[in-house]
Amino acid sequence: MTSDVIIVGAGIIGAACARALASAGVGVTVIDRGTTAGGTSSACEGNLLVSDKGPGHELVLAQYAASLWRSTVTDLREQLGDGFPSVEFDPKGGVVVATTTAGAGSLLEFVAGQRLAGVDARVIDAYEARGLEPDLTARIEAAVYYPEDAQVQPTIATEALMASARLYGARLLENTPVLGLLLDSAGSLIGVTTPAGELLGRRVLVAAGPWSGEVAGLLGVRLPVRPRRGELLVTTRMRQRIFHKVYDADYVGAVGSDDGALQTSSVVESTGSGTVLIGSSRQLVGFDARLRVEVLSEIAAKAIRLFPFLADASVMRSYGGFRPFMPDHLPVISEDPRMPGLWYATGHEGAGIGLSLATAELILDLMLGRPTRIDAAPYSVARASLAPYLEAVA
């Protein structure tokens, strides 16, 4: 069987890329060692955020993505019909709160930079903040409202993008791990090998999230994607008391950090089913998914700092996942000059749900040789900031 593009990974990045390519008439086969949305895409919060990004290339990509979500949700509904579950797109907006004077200073400085970069970031006073979130702590040193922040149910969004891709003609092979690249006698890429046999394709796109480093290794190249563990708490259903995505200003520092040790930062929001999601943690512990009570307890304590009423809330469950962490904090969206035909769409760390649509548009334009809507060079695997990590070939 021959495809134009073989996508390795049926998470939201693979699904979005499959949909973009297939709708443009490109022959696509998606393979995954498990099932659709079986990894990070079903172990996260579904953030579509601009608020946590400072000026730079990730923000540019997030702004591009933000411009695509609303119309894509409408298109998916029209294509898939009312029988398909809602992706729960909720343009709820974000509220960032600093509870210390030091935190307030860095938040306001951060916001000034974001505003210059075109982010709709509105500094609000404590009274306005409690107008948006009546149950917020009284200890508000600074607060910012971000109307552009939104959320989707990430598992359903991934399934919807994949269902749409299949309607456009993409083929999906689940439970099919990639074993290696298939090369012709001249050493050119002509497909991949799987336990089910050879799959022929002119291009192979690695979209395997935190497992992309392992997949790249199987394909004979080095790619410095590492798993960064995150954990969340889920309360029982309650009367809605949280109306935006609300987080502590120190979250931005945690997102941008390189520290492998445990970091927790409060992120709190309601879901469509009436539960409250409480995050977040970041820890470089490999693929070790053991339950860490000390992480959950720190997350809970910090959430109560933002919303004191949560002290009486009942936690129903916790879950965790792995973010695809890049050493220079930018995703890789490009062909690999070391192996023509091998492409990447990975390394989005905690922002992959939101960035998926823009990533897919870039991949489509790059593969078709068309001009891209934003400059794609910063996301190239050949960028200078990645060079130190690419030297050793596996």
Partner: protein, 108 residues
């Protein structure tokens, strides 16, 4: 499916004579024996579904029965979010069925 309480004289494990407890579920009395869970008392009283879903209004009650699914949450003596399958019935317990509207509003 029907749930029932085996009369203790017929019970092959020959338990000690039971102590009766009476609880109320949204004001309606239900009788059981000491040692039963709230879910056990409610099921044996003939009630399988004690709350309704928000979208289709379907009945829900005990699903897993072992404390995992959180489908049987009830308010007990004013305390929310108690798993009926994990709490022993105490004579006089006042059970109130919980219902919180969805953020988008209930359909049913």
């Amino acid at each position: 499916m029907t749930a029932r309480l085996l009369p203790f004289l017929d019970d092959p494990i020959k338990p000690a004579p039971p102590t009766l407890v009476t609880i109320t579920v949204d004001g309606t009395p239900a009788r059981g024996v000491a040692g039963q869970s709230l879910a056990g008392v409610i099921l044996a009283s003939g009630t399988l579904g004690f709350r309704r879903t928000s979208v289709l209004g379907r009945p829900r009650g005990v699903f897993c029965g072992i404390g995992v699914c959180y489908d049987c949450l009830v308010e007990v003596n004013g305390q929310r979010d108690v798993r009926a399958c994990q709490r022993r019935a105490v004579d006089g317990d006042v059970i109130t069925v919980q219902h919180d509207r969805l953020p988008s509003g209930d359909v049913a």
